[in-house]
Homo-oligomer: 152 residues x 2
């Protein structure tokens, strides 16, 4: 087994046995150094965003003191869900190694596959309504007028 | 302006002026009660996942002591990015009111629109490689064999 993936795998089994959450683990590596390890903690923390990958990204950012993890590689036991994939994009992580797939997660009772279908346009579950467009759109003009703005 | 959206809007302007992050605010409401308010804190915390919606979901879950926010409504100043949309799915939020769009965010220099295109299959930015499939897929068998597993 890949050495980094083994660390992610051990996180997954530990988290599952501790009832912290589902069987998901993740590791973020920079060069030959582990920056952060994590497992799913949705049940432990009651935080629906506490997936292994999100937790690992949060910890790596804290560890490195920056929101840009473009020099890092992520190893995760299962293909990231849409939320975690979005977090990977924002963190500018360039390479992801994954083990199982969203089909395996679905077999375990998790909604990753369904959520991928929803995010790709087959969303009948969440109602979206637009209100107060003009004033909210102008927030971005105020942002662009800000001399000291820092992009991320 | 919608009263709940006004709270989200005020969060967005406060966060932007404090240099906590971009001009994004969110509020989670249950019935006629505000459960959580938040703004983007990516710059303040160096956490790339600290979007307004994610922060609001985390705070609401903590406030209510549960990961299921299906009785709640989310108001956000801009249409949620893919990461936040995924978090909305996992939190089981049923209704989202939004103001500006991903096109407005793009005008402000944010990657929401590009990340939507990437998540829908036009992803040439992140390299995905599969390793150790079998052992990681078996994690879900171990999960299904667990008598005390709690789904989420």
């Amino acid at each position: 087994m890949n050495g980094w993936m083994k660390i992610a795998y051990n996180e997954a089994t530990e988290g599952m046995l501790a009832n912290d959450g589902g069987p998901f683990g993740a590791v973020i590596v920079q060069g030959d150094k582990v920056i952060a390890t994590a497992h799913n903690e949705v049940l432990k923390t009651n935080d629906p965003t506490a997936h292994a990958e999100i937790n690992a990204i949060r910890r790596a950012s804290e560890q490195l003191g920056r929101f840009d993890l473009s020099e890092c590689i992520l190893y995760c036991t299962c293909k990231p869900c849409p939320m975690c994939l979005g977090a990977i994009f924002w963190a500018r992580i360039g390479t992801v190694y994954y083990g199982a797939t969203e089909q395996d997660a679905a077999r375990g009772g998790f909604d990753d596959l369904r959520f991928y279908e929803m995010i790709r346009g087959h969303n009948n579950d969440v109602i979206f309504k637009q209100v107060d467009y003009e004033v909210n759109a102008k927030l971005f003009d105020q942002w662009l007028e800000k001399d000291d703005r820092q992009m991320y």
